[in-house]
Amino acid sequence: MLGTLPGPLALASPHLSWNVVADVRDMFRYPFMVNAFRAGTAVAVLSAVVGWFMVLRRQAFVGHTLAIVGFPGAAAAAWLGAPPALGYFAACLLCALVIAALSGRGAGGDDRGEPAIIGLAQAAALATGYLFISLYHGNLEGTNALLFGSFLGVTTGQVVALTVVAVVCVAAVATIGRPLMFASIDPGTALARGIPVGALSVGFLLLLGAAAAGASQITGSLLVFALLVLPPATARRFTLRPGLGIVLAVALGLTVTWVGLTLAYYTTYPIGFWVTSLAFGLYVVVHAVHAVAHRGRHRPLPEVAP
């Protein structure tokens, strides 16, 4: 993954025709593109499902930190000759456990504090990752791929790993979904009802770590929000229903990933740029339409607490 491939763009320079079916068929002639789509699909589904809960729990900052910690993990793996995917998952899950340990001191298990410590962790992670890159004598291409994403050189082994992780994590979310939602919205009441709020908190951090590690492998560590935040945040504008919202977030995540991969294949611009811009563009358009549609509908002023 770290800049070893000459890249298909050098071999043949594909360009879009008006025949979309032929273009897609053309693209899928390359096994690396098939692998990229498979990996992108697994990652988009996982990120949308976990991201929906992350937005609900207002843990975006934690999600971003987990993703950034994946960068030194992947760089260290490359330096040691291990697959970067392993580095991403190991670093993100380890970081999730550290955050859980640091914030789990209260019995209630509220892990939504300490932004200063989290900010420090982000800086340290970027610096360490940069160190590993220098130790590896990697070229700039490799750093870019780790930070801003790449769809080249996704191995079949990586596709299998990402699919297994996605299936396991989505199944886990489905199993803990309702108690997790209860604990996220209303921890006090959930605790009184016998729901293990603290354990759910730790479990969700691990799921978030897995999702961040997965998303990093497509969008790079710095652009994970394209798949983790934007699809759920856009879905929220359409519906507040939990089930429908998650399905919609998945659909949006898949759309931006598939279209982004296609555009990255047919243009000279990188995948991270396309996926992020598409997701952000959708978000802005949906919010703008919503704002116009609701203009003039005045709600009563909210009650002011003393």
């Binding site: 609900l56 979904g177 108690p179 209860f182 009441t189 009184a192 009802r193 507040l240």
Partner: protein, 284 residues
Amino acid sequence: MTTPQADTAPTVVMTGGAVTRRGRLVWHDVSTTIEAGRFVAVLGPNGAGKSTFIQALLGEVRLDQGSLTVLGEAPGDAHDRIGYLPQRRTFAAGAPIRGVDLVGLGLDGHRWGVPVPWSGGRHTRRARVAEMIDLVDATPYATRSIGDVSGGEQQRLLIAQALVRDPALLLLDEPLDSLDLPSQAAIAALLARLSRERGMTIVLVAHDVNPLLGYLDQVVYLGRGHAMSGPPEAVVTSESLTRLYGTPVEVLRASDGRSVVVGQPEAPAVHTDRHGAAPHHHGH
């Protein structure tokens, strides 16, 4: 007090209860019995241990001394027959959840796994949630974002959530706090109606007795580490509160029946000087 029905055991029996938190004795030697179907307020100044009392009933705080049974069981064992409303939370504007979902969580939010779509249970569930929302008169705004409705409306939805599994005991921590006066009166009337119509025992923490005065069957008054329990007209009097605090306290009655407690020390009551010159008006 009316005579309790012979076949209904008391909902709460505490005998000689004492709780210590972070090395501080919160209250001790508290004995009270709450009969089934009563509407009870736990009153007292800030820091008197009112929330601790509710937490003890929930089994979240253990008694260091004495005994306590709730619905005939050890505290915490009956949590599926208890509805609980923690101290008021406000939801941020645009919070991504609707009132109906919040009430639905009260019904099955503790269940693991995915609900089976298009099953019979789904229909019953929806009907049950709708019934509870109707019971608290929250139907008009139940499908809006919880963050976009007023504090009083949020409180109604939270009460519906606590009621949705038809609890035998409903515990509320400061349900009237930070509501405007009309909302306080409306919520107090709603709770009194629920207690009367559904025969439910309701125990709530309040720091102002006035919105509740016409409705209460019993008050548990906490102060100076002690408690007094009884009907409001017997407990909220100058004599009994003076005895509880050990410092002169006066309960003044306004012509409309509202009472004002004057001279009540805020805990921890370290100074014993009298507040005669500048009476502390308790309440809003």
